[in-house]
Amino acid sequence: MTGALWELFFEGVWITVQLMVYSAVLAAAVAFGIGLARTSRLWIVRFLSGVYVEFFRGTSALVLMFWLFFALPLLGWQLAGLWAGTLALGLSYGAYGSEVVRGSVQAVAPAQREAAIALSFTPWQRMRKVILPQAVPEMMPPFNNLLIELLKGTALASLLSIGELTFQAKLARLSTGQSAQVYGIILVLYFVIAFVVTRIMRLLERRAKASIGRAPEKSGWFSRRLPIGGPGPQVTTAPGGKP
C-alpha cells in the first residue's frame, strides 16, 4: 500500500462523510416533518404521510437511487450523482426515521400534553417546550441505528460512480490487483466511521437525557442496540419502551 493509495482512500472517506451528513440532514427534516404529520388531527394529513412512509419503506434504496439518476433526467431533471444519492438516501431513511419520531412523540405521557393544554400553551409551544424535550432523548438510540444504516447505504452511491470510499476501493483494486488488502482496509475504515458516529450519538443521548434529569441506559462496548422487532413496523414495542 503506497501513500497515493491512502490518499485515494481518505478522499473517499471525506466524500462518504459528506454524503452521510447531507443525507442525514435531509432524513432528519423528513423524519420530523412526516413523523409529526402522522400524529395530526386531520385524517387526510395522517393518510398522506402514511402513504409516503409505506412507499419509501416498501421500495429499495438502490432502485430509488437508480431511478433518480437514470430515469428522472428523461423527465427533464438532471441530478448530479451526489445529489441523486443524497436524495435517495435522505428520502428513504427519513421514512424510517419518521416512525421513530412518531413512536417517541406518542410515548410521551398523555398527562404532559394535558398539562400543557391546561396551561393554555399554543400547539407550537406545547410541541417545543413539553413534548419534544421529552421525546428527543428517546429517539437517540434508534436514530443511531438508522445513522449507521445510512452510512452503510452510502456505499450504494459508488454504483453511480460517485467517488466515495467504495468507489475509490474499486479504483485501487483495478490499479493494484490486491483485492483482499483493498477491501479489508476499507471495511475497517467503514467500521471506524461507524464507531465514531456511535460514540457521538451516545454523547448526544447522554446530554439530551441529562437535560431532563434521566440517565442513559447501560450498553456494551460498541453500544448499538437494535430494535427488538426488526426493521419493520413495531406493533408491540414503542422506542425506548419494553416489549
Binding site: E54, F55, R57, G58, T59, S60, A61, L62, V63, L64, F66, W67, F70, A71, L74, L75, G76, I148, L151, K152, G153, T154, A155, L156, S158, L159, T166, A169, K170, R173, S179, A180, Y183, G184, I186, L187, Y190, F191, A194, F195, G220, W221, F222, R224, L226, I228, G229, G230, P231, G232, P233, V235, T236, P243
Partner: protein
Amino acid sequence: MNNWSWEYVGDILPDLLHGLWITVQATLLGSLVAFALGLVWALALRSPSRWVTWPVSIVVEFVRNTPLLVQLFFLFFVLPGWGLTFDPLTTGVIGLGLHYSTYTAEVYRAGIDGVPEGQWEAATALSLPRRRTWTAVILPQAFRRVVPALGNYVIAMFKDTPMLAAITVAELLFQANSISATTFDYMEPITVVGVLFIVISYPTSLLLRALERRLVR
C-alpha cells in the same frame, strides 16, 4: 420528455419476471443462511467462556456495522484468490446470509431472553439434560416470539438484493440495467422494478403485522 410506452413494458416484462425469480431465490436462500447462522451466533454469545463470546461479538459487530455492498465485493473478488470459486448467486446468498445473520442473532437473543425464568427453573427441577432444555423448552417458546421480527428482516433482505447486481447476479435490477443498456430507455425498466418491489414488500409487511398481532401478545 419521452412518453410512457405500455408496449415496451410488455416487451421487457418476461425478462424482468425472470430477474424477479432470481431475486426471490436469493432472498429465500439468504434467509435460510441468516436464520441458521444467526442462531449459531446467538448461542455462542451465551457461552460462559469469554474466549468464545469475545471473538464472536467482534465478528458480529464488524459485519453488522460495515456495508453489505463492500462485503459482497470482498467475497466476490477475494474468495477466488483463496481457491474458493462460487457462482455469483452463491456468493450473493453467502453475503446476504452472513450480513443478516448478525441481525437475526440479536432477534434470537431477545427471543431467548423473553422466555420466563420459571421455564429454566422448571427444566432444572425436572433435571432435563441441557440439550433437551434447549430443544424442548426454550427454543420452541423463543421461536414463536421471533417469527415476526425475522419476517421483517426477510423483507429488508429482499430490498437489499438489488445490490447483488453489482456482483453480476442476473436479478431484477441487473435485468433492468441490461435492458436499458441496449434500448437507451431507462424510464420503463427502472420504474417497473421499483413498482415490483413495492407490490411485493408492502402486502408482505401487512401480512407480518397481522401475524405479529396473533403470535406476540
